[in-house]
């Protein structure tokens, strides 16, 4: 029997706003525990929530990016439960009126494009961070109240690969919209997976298993591939899939049981009485959308239109710092492809060596543009431009200055000068000319080499090659 998987994803994204969702305490990561707090974050009696405008703006931007309907009235509800990491004994969330509904995300899988439906996104607040030790548990309230946006997909994902691509797509949106740093390893993007399987062609749902603790995008795919196989194996052996929560054990490469699920918790939702509904003006929504930084997909399309390969475009976009640098440097050159090559080659090389990231790339973008121009207009070979760039990194001087210091000479593209050399080469190497005419392409290389020798390396080899070709053609 063949099965298909039914996968739904819940993604929690921690926003990088300046202050928390409902309090004025700053949003930080890695600070001394329990230092970034307002009384509200500890739920001191009498404290009240005030809605973070930037978080609402982020919600609008994300909803728009996912093609969702945006609720013009922002409302919040209480989700009531007792837990050690939940200071108020309830979480303020948007149960009844999520800020965005009915959207989708396009993913490009190995089997073609697919559009994954998204049920809703809603704004809420994070809980305190727990640190468990054998004899005690510690609570860090710095995280309590950090704005979250939860993105709930429809159960339309079918494979581990699709799940991975979906998460990557969401991460790219929140990253490029400036909503979050999207770091799974730091918990600013958290993924819960629900997966069940059913025989192909059927409409019902199998028993759902939840997988938690997925700390990298790669592990989402691995965990799902494993889990789908596991469930299929159980069914084929005539056993049943139990409703349970599992986690992914990275070392063993498999999912392991955390706990069996009993009846769902009753969160006793009701509208938050301390926040009056906020009517979003059309202007506010429009402005939020219009001022949203350029998103991943738009950049990708633009880069490809500039002549970059899909692969190069995606590699650059892998690193937001590089993409932003690329965009800045673009305004200093007409040769995007060369620029991309410099960034992916010399740029990355240098950063690796120096242990730096693209966010702190040491050369101003105009210098990178200058290096490209040296190559594409100045007659320097790529090797020479790279050499100059290396000195720029080393001494913090512009590539032009580096060229001078290194005494590099541009190659000559002057027609008159090159024409003389071409004439000489052709007359001295009649046999090779004949060989080329007979279809031996290699002969051209030989002729160009002779010309370079004659010019003592000064000739621009590309131009030289072109002219030899032209000349032979004319003689014919």
């Amino acid at each position: 029997m063949n099965f298909e998987a039914v996968i739904g994803l819940e993604i929690h994204v921690e926003m990088r706003t300046r202050s928390k969702m409902f309090s004025s305490a700053p949003v930080t990561y890695g600070k001394e525990p329990n230092t970034e707090l307002a009384p509200f974050d500890l739920a001191f009696p009498g404290t009240m929530p005030t809605v973070n405008e930037e978080a609402v703006r982020n919600g609008i931007r994300l909803a728009h990016a996912l093609g969702m309907e945006i609720d013009p009235l922002v409302r919040f509800d209480r989700k009531n439960y007792f837990y050690s990491d939940l200071p108020k004994g309830f979480q303020i969330t948007q149960q009844f009126h999520p800020i965005g509904r009915n959207g989708s995300l396009l993913i490009r899988t190995s089997r073609g494009e697919r559009r994954i439906g998204i049920e809703r996104i809603h704004l809420e607040e994070d809980t305190a961070k727990q640190l468990h030790f054998p004899d005690c548990s510690l609570l860090d309230y710095n995280r309590a109240g950090v704005p979250l946006v939860e993105i709930v997909s429809l159960p339309e994902i079918r494979t581990g690969e699709e799940a991975r691509l979906y998460v990557e797509g969401i991460r790219n949106i929140v990253l490029y919209a400036g909503i979050s740093d999207g770091k799974m390893e730091e918990g600013s993007l958290r993924v819960d997976v629900n997966v069940s399987i059913r025989p192909y062609g059927t409409e019902g749902f199998g028993t759902k298993v939840e997988i938690k603790n997925l700390n990298s995008i790669k592990n989402i795919e691995l965990a799902l591939d494993y889990e789908i196989d596991r469930q299929a194996g159980l069914l084929l052996m005539g056993k049943e899939v139990r409703q349970e929560t599992r986690r992914y054990d990275e070392g063993k490469g498999r999912t392991v049981l955390m706990r069996l699920k009993t009846d769902a918790v009753d969160y006793k939702y009701f509208p938050e009485p301390n926040i009056a509904p906020i009517a979003l003006s059309e202007e506010f929504v429009r402005e939020a959308v219009e001022t949203c930084p350029e998103l991943y997909e738009s950049k990708r399309a633009r880069y490809i239109a500039l002549g970059l390969t899909e692969k190069d475009a995606e590699v650059i976009l892998q690193d937001k710092g590089m993409a932003l640098y690329f965009d800045k440097a673009l305004s200093f050159t007409k040769y995007p492809k060369s620029l991309a090559n410099f960034l992916l080659g010399e740029g990355n090389q240098h950063l690796n060596k120096a242990g730096l990231s693209w966010d702190s790339f040491p050369l101003p973008p105009e210098w990178m543009g200058e290096a490209v121009l040296l190559q594409d207009e100045g007659g320097f070979q790529h090797k020479q431009a790279a050499e100059a760039l290396a000195l720029s990194f080393e001494q913090g001087i512009s590539p032009k200055e580096a060229v001078e210091r290194l005494g590099l000479k541009p190659q000559v593209s002057d027609e008159g000068f090159l024409l003389g050399i071409v004439e000489k080469v052709l007359s001295e190497n009649a046999q090779s000319v004949q060989d080329f005419l007979n279809g031996k392409d290699r002969a051209l290389g030989f002729l160009v080499g002779q010309g370079m020798k004659l010019s003592r390396g000064k000739a621009n080899p590309a131009r030289l090659s072109e002219m030899i070709r032209e000349r032979i053609g004319k003689e014919e």
Binding site: A43, T47, Y83, P87
Partner: protein
């Protein structure tokens, strides 16, 4: 007679004349508070109060609250002063911030002397469920009668003449009911008029900051100081603050007062109903149009249960922060569940637990439709009915309670209309978020009776105008037990 008996305006004039100082007045207030035997106090901050009073310098002309001593109900967050809301679960809790009203009063130079008792976490109407036990009605020296709650301590201390005003909070009638029992003016302004930031929440959709004074004038003066938008309370209104204390120039002409006949009809023989009737006749003589309307008996009967379901549901959520982990006594335990269970088992009184169970029950998925949501729909229906009445009329007038302050062991018939309606109708003002004020009406065997006026949203100025007329007609102003003792009453 001392300066404290003059009311806020009289005291201010004495300060301006240089007859006395905030420190002297605070000392006198402290002396009177210490003398009081009604079990009205939680924490006090007398030393801080005296040094603050001494630091006030020159009297600020027109800042009527300058140097005025007051008490606050112990459910207002007060920086550095223990605040327990009369519950053991908050024993030892010293807030790190001031409630907005406390901050404003401090800024104006009013002198906080301490915190007053309440029904535990403001839940209750008897003033008996706080962790310090019963608070007594100062008008009954034998200590057999309640002053009412939940703002019992504040009512007792103002009625005792210790301070010109005290802060309370009002979710169902927690200021306006005790005001009636204590011969005081007690007001709950429009929902959103005064910031609730720092008020320990009971049921935020109903909660209002309120206060007790001994005159309409003082009540109006205070509203001017306390009202206004506060960024820390997202539900506070940005409507401009009227000059409430200048209500005298408003014409009474054309003002209409509604009487709810079906409400009055539940207690026809009682003195309070008769006196309210007499008052209405006198208002008519003064040119006020009195209209008799029927609210709808069934709806009136549903007030109590509607209030109970909504308030308990909200309360069970609001008080979920009291879990022993972050503040209050830490009971220990090997799991977080154990810590919470112990803290809440030991920390809450029996009545509170009952309310939490009821609130939680009515919010449960399988009950929510039948209880919580049904109560919300009924609330909307009641609010709509109030809206109809207040479109025709400017105010409605009711007795503040079925009678004078009850004896502690008095068991009313909880299913009678006298109880279901006349004892619980003040929640109408909370349902609709309307300004509502209780004023002294008369006396019955030495105990005060109160009358209540409820007006349109944000129409406090006209409410004060009408209240001043009532005050004029009853002649009951600046009442306190001290006035009676000293023979001025």
């Amino acid at each position: 007679m001392g300066y404290l008996d003059l009311g806020i305006r009289g005291l201010h004039e004495a300060y301006l004349r240089g007859e006395t100082t905030p420190r002297e007045v605070a000392e006198e207030a402290i002396r009177r508070a210490k003398e009081n035997q009604d079990n009205a106090l939680e924490a006090t901050c007398y030393e801080e109060a005296l040094s603050f009073a001494s630091s006030l310098g020159e009297c600020e002309r027109d800042n009527l609250l300058w140097g005025v001593p007051y008490f606050a109900k112990d459910n207002f967050s007060t920086k550095g002063v223990e605040t327990t809301a009369s519950s053991n679960i908050l024993k030892g809790y010293v807030p790190v911030f001031d409630a907005e009203v406390i901050r404003r009063l401090k800024e104006r130079g009013a002198v906080l002397l301490g915190k007053t008792t309440l029904d535990e976490l403001a839940m209750g109407g008897t003033g008996t469920s706080g962790h310090l036990g019963k608070t007594y009605n100062p008008w009954d020296e034998s200590h057999h009668r309640m002053v009412g709650g939940s703002s019992c301590g504040s009512a007792a201390l103002v009625a005792a003449g210790a301070v010109p005003f005290a802060l309370g909070s009002d979710t169902g009638d927690s200021v306006r009911k005790p005001a009636g029992y204590a011969g005081l003016v007690g007001i709950k302004p429009t929902w959103g008029r005064i910031s609730r930031f720092g008020l320990f929440p009971f049921a935020p959709s109903l909660d209002a900051v309120g206060y007790f004074t001994r005159s309409v004038d003082d009540a109006a003066i205070l509203l001017e100081a306390l009202a206004g938008r506060d960024e820390k309370d997202a539900t506070s209104s940005d409507k401009s603050v009227d000059s409430y204390a200048k209500y005298q120039d408003i014409s009474l002409e054309g003002m209409k007062v509604a009487v709810l006949d079906d409400l009055m009809g539940t207690i026809p023989e009682r003195k309070i109903a008769k006196d309210a009737g007499k008052l209405l006749s006198r208002l008519e003589e003064r040119g006020v149009e009195v209209r008799h309307v029927r609210f709808g008996e069934e709806m009136l009967r549903s007030i109590y249960i509607t209030y109970f379901v909504i308030s308990c549901a909200e309360a069970t959520s609001n008080d979920a922060n009291l879990d022993g982990i972050k503040f209050g006594p830490y009971p220990g335990g090997s799991t977080y569940e154990e810590v919470m269970l112990r803290a809440r088992t030991q920390g809450f009184g029996k009545l509170i637990k009952r309310r939490f169970v009821i609130g939680s029950y009515s919010l449960m998925r399988e009950n929510q439709e039948e209880l919580f949501l049904r109560a919300q729909r009924n609330r909307a229906k009641i609010v709509a009915r109030i809206g109809e009445i207040l479109t025709e009329c400017d105010f409605f007038l009711t007795p503040a309670s079925p009678g004078a302050a009850p004896l502690f062991d008095e068991q009313g018939d909880r299913l009678s209309d006298a109880y279901l309606i006349a004892d619980n109708h003040l929640a109408l003002g909370n349902f609709a978020g309307l300004p509502s004020i209780t004023l002294p009406l008369s006396f019955e065997e030495g105990l005060p009776l109160g009358v209540n006026l409820t007006g349109r949203a944000f129409d406090e100025r006209r409410l004060f105008r009408m209240s001043a007329l009532v005050e004029e007609e009853t002649g009951l102003r600046n009442l306190s037990v001290r006035e009676r003792k000293e023979g001025r009453l």
